[in-house]
C-alpha cells in the first residue's frame, strides 16, 4: 500500500465505521426507550435521559469494536485484490 492509496481507504473505513457504530447505538437507545415506554410508568425525562445514557455507553462500546471490524474487513478485501 502506498500513501496516496491509503487516504481514500482510510476515509472509507472511517465512513463505514461511523455509520456502523451510530446505527448500533441508536438501535440500542431506541430499544431502551421503547422498553421503558412499554414497561412501567416512567417520566419522559427518565426515558429520554436513560436513552441518552444508553446511547453514550453504546457508542463507547461499539466505536472501537465496529472500527476494528470494518478495518479488518477492508484490509482483508484489499489483500484479496492485491492477490489478484
Amino acid at each position: 500500500m502506498n500513501s496516496s492509496a491509503a487516504a481514500p481507504e482510510t476515509r472509507k473505513v472511517v465512513r463505514w465505521s461511523v455509520l456502523g457504530y451510530t446505527a448500533v447505538s441508536l438501535s440500542l437507545a431506541s430499544a431502551f426507550y421503547a422498553a421503558a415506554s412499554l414497561i412501567g410508568s416512567y417520566t419522559e425525562v427518565a426515558k429520554a435521559g436513560g436513552a441518552v445514557w444508553v446511547f453514550m455507553l453504546s457508542m463507547i462500546v461499539s466505536m472501537p469494536l465496529v472500527t476494528s471490524a470494518v478495518k479488518a474487513r477492508t484490509t482483508a478485501r484489499e489483500g484479496v485484490h492485491d492477490g489478484n
Binding site: A36, I39, G49, I60, T67
Partner: protein, 866 residues
C-alpha cells in the same frame, strides 16, 4: 520485507492502560509489525516496514491518542556554505536522517537548528551527515545527555500533574465545604453563598474543563483510533456527574433528581483523586526504573580524542572506532578500547564490583564508564556508541523490562478487555436498576457510604445513573495491567544491580520455578586451565626437594605449548625458580618429554614414557594412584643416567573460588545440582566430590549435552544449564533457562537467557533469589488487583444496597480506584529493599568481567518477547 526497528521515547504514559493504548495505536498502523512498550523507561520499541509507514506518521498517531514523543534541538555550526543551494544540501542531508523531525539552516550565521528524536539519532550522527555532503559541522552546544532529557521529560510530567493538583485540590476542598454547608458546624462558619449550586457549578467548571480536559481529549482521540483506555472511564464518570449536576442546577424540575442531586462535588473530587493518583504514580514509577537510570548515569559525556597530535575534547558519542583517546588522572574512560601506552590504575568497581583499582598497561582492555585513578594513558577505541559493553547492557536491561512474562498473558487479556467490559457492565447495571432494582429496593432514607447525605428524592434515572457511573469509576484496570510489568521492571533492574542480566521477562519467571541446575565443568565450575596441585618426592631420592623436581620439569618443559607443560612452568615461576635452557630436548608424542637439564638427563611424562625408558615407578606408584583417584593428572619425573624415578608432579583443573559455596547454597535452597562434562568418570567424580555435586553426567560428548538436559526435562524437572563455551550452546538453548557466564564465549552469551557478568557462580543463587522475589511480587500484585476489582465492582454496582441501603458515591469510588493502583506500585517498590542472601559487598551495577582477552561482549536478544 525490510524491517526497521526504532525505540521512541513516549511522554505522558502513566499506567499499564497507557501502554496498551500506545501499543494498540501503533499496531493499528499499516506497516507496523511489532510494538513493545516499556512503561518505566517511557519507551516504545517499534518494528516496521519503512515502505509502508514512516516516523512522522507514528508521531502523529501517538500525538492523536494523547502522547508525545519529545524532540530536542541541537545547533550545528556549519562551515563551507556559500549559497542557497548549500543550504538546501545541508537541510536535505539532515532531514534525510531517521529521527530528524525538522532542520532549518541559516546561511548568514552558518548555523543549522535541528529537531530530532533522541535515541533514534544523536548529535554525532547529525554532524557526520553534514560532513558526508561536504561541509564542516560541529555541535554548537553539547545539548543534554539522554539521561538529562529523560529526567527533564519526567520532571515535566511531574510539574504538569503537580500544577493540576494544586489547581484542583483547593477548589475541591471549597466545593466539598459548600456541598456540606448545611451539615455539622458548617452553617456557623461557612457563608451561605458557598452552598449555592450556581457557585458550586462555577467552581467545578474550571476543574472539569481544566485539569479534567485531558481525559476527554485523550479518550476521544483513542476512540477515533479504535482504542479504549483509562481516560475513557474517567471521562465518562466525570462527564456524567458534571452533566447531571448542570442539568439539575439549571433545570431542577426536569426530573433528574433536582437541586438535591447536584453532583458537582463528585465531578470535582473525581478529577482531584485521579490527578492525585497520576501525580503519585509519576513519582513512584520513576523509582521502579531506577536501575536503568543508574546505568545511564555511568555513560560518559565527553572524550579527549587525539587528532594530529593535539587533544580535542568532544562529545563521547562522536568518538569513532579506531580513534586514539587520552585519559588523564581522575577522568572517566569514554568508550571501550585497548591501551596503547602509559600506565595507570582504573577503578572498575562500578562495573566489576572489584574494590581495588585494576592496573592497566599497554595491551590491557579498558571499559567505557570506568574511572581512571592515578596515571595517564592513551588507548585506541575498539567499541563506540551502541557497541560498548555498557550500551549493550543498557539495551539488554531495557529489552528485558519491555518484554512480557508468561504470567502476564492473563493480566493482559483482562486489562485489554477490561474497559469495554466495564462499560458493558455499566450499561447492564443501569438497565437493571432502571427497570427492576429501583422499584424493588429503593429507600429514600438510604445514604452514601461514609457520607451523611441521604439519597432522598432521587428519581429512577438519577439513581440508576449514579450506580452506573460508580461502576465505571471504581474499576481499576491499571492495577491489573501494572501488576506484572512493574514487578518485572523492578526484578530485572535488581538483577542488573547485582550483575545478573535477565534477557527477558520469561527468563525471570522461569528462574523462580527451577528445580534442577546443570553445570558445565570446565571453565564454569573449574578455572578451565590446569595448574600444579601436588609435587611428590620419591622415597630414597636423597638430596631432592619439591623445588628441585619442579625446576627440572619446568626447565625441560620451557617453551612448551602443551597446557600441562605451561602449568608446570607457571608453577615454577610462581615459586621464584630461575629457569634455564634445556639441551637435547626431545618431545615424545602422547608420552612426554626428555631433555638435559644442567647436564643431567631428565624425563617427564606418563607411565608409558617411563616404561619405554626402563624406569621403575614402583616407589611412587601408590602416590600416583591416589592423585589419579582425585581426578588429577600425575606426571612422572625421572633423572640421572641411568634414569631413576625422582618424583611426581600432579596437574589438575582447579575449582573456581566460590564454586563449592554456590553448590552448597543451591542445595540449601532445595535445588538439585548436576554436572555435565566430557571428561572421564574418575576426573568428573573427583571434581564433583570437591564441589559437593552428587549427580554427575560424565563422558558426555558436546553434542549430547543438550540431550542430557532434555532427559531431565522429560522427567518433569525445570532445568537451568550454566555454561560458558561454544559446546554448551545447544544445552543452554535446550534448558528452560540458559545461564551464560559473562566471561564466556559470545555464542554462549547469545544463547543464554541470563548472563552472569562476574565469574562468581554464587550469582546463580542470586539469579534464583531475584526470580523468586519477582514472581512473589507479581503474584501479590495480581492477587491484589483481581481481588480489588472482584470486590469493588459488585459493591459499586449496588450489590449490597438491598441489604445495607448504602451506595458508594462516585468520589469515594475514585479515591478507592486511585489507592488500588497506587498500592500495586508501592508494593512493587518494596522490592527495592531486596538483598540477595550473599550480601557480599555493595551491589554494583552492570558488573563486567575484567579486561583482557575475555573482554565482555554482551549480545542483546534479537527480538523482544511478545
Amino acid at each position: 520485507m525490510a524491517t526497521t526497528q526504532i525505540s521512541l521515547p513516549v511522554m505522558g504514559m502513566s499506567c499499564a492502560s497507557c501502554t496498551s493504548t500506545v501499543e494498540g495505536a501503533l499496531r493499528n498502523l499499516d506497516g507496523v509489525e511489532d510494538v513493545g512498550v516499556n512503561l518505566g523507561a517511557g519507551h516504545a520499541s517499534v518494528s516496521y516496514d519503512p515502505r509502508q509507514v514512516n516516523l512522522e506518521r507514528m508521531l502523529e498517531t501517538l500525538h492523536d491518542v494523547g502522547y508525545d514523543v519529545p524532540s530536542v534541538e541541537a545547533s550545528l555550526l556549519v562551515g563551507g556554505m556559500t549559497c542557497a543551494s548549500c543550504v538546501a544540501h545541508v537541510e536535505k542531508a539532515l532531514t534525510g536522517l531517521e529521527g530528524v523531525t525538522g532542520a532549518s539552516v541559516n546561511l548568514g550565521l552558518g548555523l543549522a537548528r535541528v529537531s530530532y528524536v533522541p535515541g533514534i539519532t544523536a548529535p554525532g550522527q547529525l554532524t557526520r551527515a553534514v560532513r558526508d555532503v561536504g561541509y564542516e559541522a560541529e555541535v554548537q552546544d553539547e545539548g543534554a545527555s539522554l539521561l538529562d532529557r529523560e529526567r527533564e521529560a519526567r520532571q515535566e510530567e511531574l510539574r504538569k500533574q503537580k500544577r493540576n493538583l494544586w489547581f484542583t485540590l483547593p477548589i475541591a476542598a471549597l466545593v466539598m465545604i459548600g456541598t456540606f454547608r448545611d451539615m455539622w458546624f458548617f452553617p456557623s462558619v461557612v457563608p451561605s453563598f458557598l452552598g449555592n449550586p450556581y457557585v458550586l457549578g462555577l467552581l467545578a467548571t474550571p476543574v472539569v474543563f481544566g485539569p479534567g480536559r485531558q481525559f476527554f481529549v485523550n479518550s476521544w482521540r483513542g476512540l477515533r483510533h479504535g482504542v479504549t483506555d483509562m481516560n475513557l472511564l474517567y471521562a465518562t464518570g466525570i462527564g456524567a456527574a458534571y452533566g447531571i449536576a448542570v442539568l439539575n442546577t439549571l433545570f431542577p424540575e426536569a426530573g433528574f433528581g433536582g437541586r438535591g442531586a447536584t453532583f458537582f462535588e463528585s465531578a470535582v473530587l473525581l478529577t482531584a483523586f485521579i490527578v492525585l493518583g497520576r501525580y503519585l504514580e509519576a513519582v513512584t514509577r520513576g523509582r521502579t526504573s531506577e536501575a536503568i537510570r543508574k546505568l545511564m548515569r555511568l555513560q560518559p559525556k565527553t572524550a579527549r580524542v587525539v587528532r594530529a597530535g593535539a587533544e580535542i575534547e568532544m562529545p563521547a558519542d562522536e568518538v569513532l572506532a579506531g580513534d586514539v583517546l587520552a585519559v588523564r588522572p581522575g577522568e572517566q574512560i569514554a568508550v571501550d578500547g585497548l591501551v596503547l601506552d602509559g600506565y595507570s590504575a582504573v577503578d572498575e568497581s562500578m562495573l566489576t564490583g572489584e574494590s581495588l583499582p585494576v592496573e592497566k598497561g599497554a595491551g590491557a582492555a579498558v571499559i567505557g564508564g570506568t574511572m581512571n585513578k592515578t596515571g595517564a594513558f592513551r588507548f585506541r577505541a575498539t567499541k563506540v556508541g551502541k557497541d560498548t559493553a555498557l550500551a549493550q547492557i543498557i539495551d539488554l536491561v531495557e529489552n528485558a523490562q519491555a518484554s512480557k512474562a508468561p504470567i502476564q498473558k492473563l493480566a493482559d487479556w483482562v486489562a485489554g478487555h477490561f474497559i469495554l467490559g466495564v462499560h458493558i457492565l455499566a450499561l447492564a447495571v443501569f438497565a437493571f436498576w432502571f427497570f427492576y432494582g429501583y422499584q424493588a429496593f429503593f429507600d429514600p432514607n438510604s445514604s452514601f457510604l461514609l457520607s451523611p447525605f441521604t439519597l432522598g428524592s432521587i428519581g429512577v434515572f438519577g439513581f440508576s445513573l449514579l450506580l452506573s457511573v460508580t461502576v465505571l469509576v471504581i474499576s481499576c484496570p491499571c492495577a491489573v495491567g501494572l501488576a506484572t510489568p512493574s514487578a518485572i521492571m523492578a526484578g530485572s533492574g535488581k538483577g542488573a544491580e547485582y550483575g545478573v542480566l535477565f534477557k527477558n521477562a520469561e527468563a525471570l519467571e522461569t528462574t523462580a520455578k527451577l528445580t534442577t541446575i546443570v553445570f558445565d565443568k570446565t571453565g564454569t565450575l573449574t578455572r578451565g586451565e590446569p595448574s600444579v596441585t601436588d609435587v611428590v618426592v620419591a622415597d630414597g631420592e636423597r638430596g631432592s626437594s619439591e623445588d628441585e623436581i619442579l625446576d627440572w620439569a619446568a626447565v625441560a618443559e620451557r617453551g612448551s605449548e602443551h597446557p600441562l607443560g605451561e602449568a608446570i612452568v607457571r608453577a615454577a615461576e610462581e615459586r621464584g625458580l630461575a629457569l634455564r635452557h634445556a639441551l637435547d630436548f626431545e618431545s615424545v608424542p602422547g608420552q612426554g618429554v626428555a631433555a638435559s637439564v644442567d647436564g643431567r638427563p631428565v624425563l617427564l611424562g606418563n607411565r608409558k614414557l617411563m616404561e619405554s625408558r626402563g624406569v621403575d615407578v614402583a616407589g611412587v606408584q601408590a602416590d600416583a594412584e591416589r592423585l589419579e583417584h582425585e581426578g588429577k593428572t600425575a606426571m612422572f619425573v625421572a633423572a640421572g643416567e641411568p634414569a631413576a624415578i625422582a618424583g611426581l608432579i600432579a596437574v589438575a583443573d582447579t575449582l573456581k573460588e566460590h564454586s563449592a559455596d554456590a553448590i552448597a547454597r543451591l542445595h540449601k535452597m532445595g535445588i538439585e545440582v548436576a554436572m555435565v562434562t566430557g571428561d572421564n568418570r574418575r576426573t568428573a567424580a573427583a571434581i564433583a566430590r570437591q564441589v559437593g555435586i552428587d549427580q554427575v553426567l560424565a563422558e558426555v560428548l558436546p553434542q549430547d549435552k543438550a540431550g542430557e538436559v532434555a532427559k531431565l526435562q522429560a522427567a518433569g524437572k525445570k532445568v537451568a544449564m550454566v555454561g560458558d563455551g561454544v559446546n554448551d550452546a545447544p544445552a543452554l538453548a535446550q534448558a528452560d533457562v540458559g545461564i551464560a557466564i559473562g566471561s564466556g564465549t559470545d555464542v554462549a552469551k547469545e544463547t543464554g537467557s541470563i548472563i552472569l557478568i562476574r565469574e562468581d557462580l554464587r550469582d546463580v543463587v542470586t539469579a534464583i533469589e531475584i526470580g523468586r522475589a519477582t514472581l512473589r511480587k507479581v503474584k501479590q500484585n495480581l492477587f491484589w488487583a483481581f481481588a480489588y476489582n472482584t470486590v469493588s465492582i459488585p459493591i459499586g454496582a449496588g450489590l449490597l444496597y438491598p441489604a445495607l441501603n448504602l451506595v458508594v458515591s462516585p468520589e469515594w469510588a475514585a479515591f478507592l480506584m486511585a489507592v488500588s493502583s497506587l498500592t500495586v506500585t508501592l508494593n512493587t517498590l518494596l522490592m527495592r529493599r531486596f538483598r540477595p542472601s550473599l550480601g557480599s559487598g555493595s551491589p554494583s551495577l552492570q558488573q563486567l568481567p575484567g579486561p583482557g582477552a575475555r573482554h565482555p561482549s554482551i549480545t542483546a536478544p534479537e527480538g523482544r518477547a511478545a
